[in-house]
Symmetry: C2
Subunit: 256 residues, 2 copies
Amino acid sequence: MTYVVAISNEKGGVAKTTTALSLGGALARLGKKVLMIDLDAQANLTLALGIPPARVSLGSNDVLLASVALQDCIQSSPISGLDIVPSNTKIELVEQLLPVYINYADRLKNAIAEALPLPYEFIILDCPPALGAVTRNALTAAHLLLIPTQAEFFSAYALRNMMQMIQTVRREGNPYLSYRILVTMFDRRNRAHRDIYKQLKNTFKDGLFSTVIEVDTKLRESPISGVPITHYTPKSRGAQQYRALAEELIRYAQEK
Amino acid sequence: MTYVVAISNEKGGVAKTTTALSLGGALARLGKKVLMIDLDAQANLTLALGIPPARVSLGSNDVLLASVALQDCIQSSPISGLDIVPSNTKIELVEQLLPVYINYADRLKNAIAEALPLPYEFIILDCPPALGAVTRNALTAAHLLLIPTQAEFFSAYALRNMMQMIQTVRREGNPYLSYRILVTMFDRRNRAHRDIYKQLKNTFKDGLFSTVIEVDTKLRESPISGVPITHYTPKSRGAQQYRALAEELIRYAQEK
Ligand SMILES: Nc1ncnc2c1ncn2[C@@H]1O[C@H](COP(=O)(O)OP(=O)(O)OP(=O)(O)O)[C@@H](O)[C@H]1O
Ligand SMILES: Nc1ncnc2c1ncn2[C@@H]1O[C@H](COP(=O)(O)OP(=O)(O)OP(=O)(O)O)[C@@H](O)[C@H]1O
Ligand SMILES: [Mg+2]
Ligand SMILES: [Mg+2]
């Protein structure tokens, strides 16, 4: 069984890519085989695994737009157990061109279904900071939507649009989509962070992962070396917290 | 003369909205009349001025898509000297529908030109974290592109796409577009921040504002009260740094 996790939030800069990279690394360290799919024109996940986006020939936009088979776009990464379908910056066109296809929201889901069986226990989708056609594809293809959120005003507000998008996707193509919110870049010393975190727990209850990711400057540094934090500084707080998240995700996926 | 400043960066969470809000507030405190235009579906700038996005009737997408006159979409804000054209979440549709118009990139530029003369010395455009049709409109309408950037790996990398976008816009509709990079959320104690800031100065030289905005938790709090930092805590470091930025911008606009 391949479990698909979409990492998405319309709010920018909430650690979507950092979570995809770190969670992928942590799952690989726990012996899981993982496929990452970079759906963002910024190609940050591709870059963070040491792959120059300008040199990508077949990427995720070829799967979405040109119906290239998913298997043909998979590259290995420097991390054992971790493969990637990279992004190339042409994906900006995808936002404009995808909606001309009938049932355009199903293209990624169908591409994954046609590629099965795949040797991966997890597929992780890194999304752009928008709720457009590409993110819609990711949510339609996913079992779980993981929503990274900062404990800050604009980020908390963004959850309204995300909840609406989940309702739309459940109605129109993926009735079993579930979600979990992950609080990221948390600073225990900051009163506003503590207050908003309490509000999120009150509002969303079990909709929150119990793991919280705190601020750790090592998480900023690991992409520069082209590796996840779990392979950069395995004993750091960031690596330990993302390992705890990976274990929580594995338990969650098994229950479903 | 109305000077138009677009605040844009494909990278998410680099303080585009915080800069629009704070710079607008600082210019108003210096006696300038300012119009803010919220071009982001997240409607964070609208929200930060205390206007509930769900209650917006005429917004920026009506200017872009339905050719409603700009003047008809202007609302006053709680801050004297600061008006706003709010955003409503329908702007997601704008990304998909705008490209069907001929010369779609000129629609905002033409809407502003048709509304002149306007009683504003500055117009500030807050953009979504993407380089799509809406951002293209903002850059075509602007005299200056202000690029907020964190001194971090992914943010610095995003500048490549921004530079390419500037070249495209200069070729196709706005030959005099200039740009200035603003380093935001800077933490002097962080070695990676200091290193990347040095690299940005070496690469971009005069392309950087001399003002740097440091981390200040008051900047996270002011939007909750619906006011810019200059009206929330005028003596805070954030308010002082954005006031210095406003003075630098006024000097820059006068030279041009
Ligand atoms: N826990 C953390 N501690 C410190 N820095 C972090 C942490 N998580 C992420 N960062 C940094 O914050 C910035 C934003 O993170 P990231 O780019 O992963 O967010 P994103 O949601 O993917 O952004 P975008 O919306 O542009 O796709 C990056 O520079 C990253 O290195
Ligand atoms: N100098 C600063 N010090 C501390 N926090 C800051 C600072 N500038 C911005 N922030 C906070 O960082 C977060 C990101 O800022 P903001 O939302 O303005 O970025 P943005 O680029 O507009 O994001 P998006 O890409 O989603 O539009 C917000 O929670 C904001 O309050
Ligand atoms: Mg990202
Ligand atoms: Mg913003």
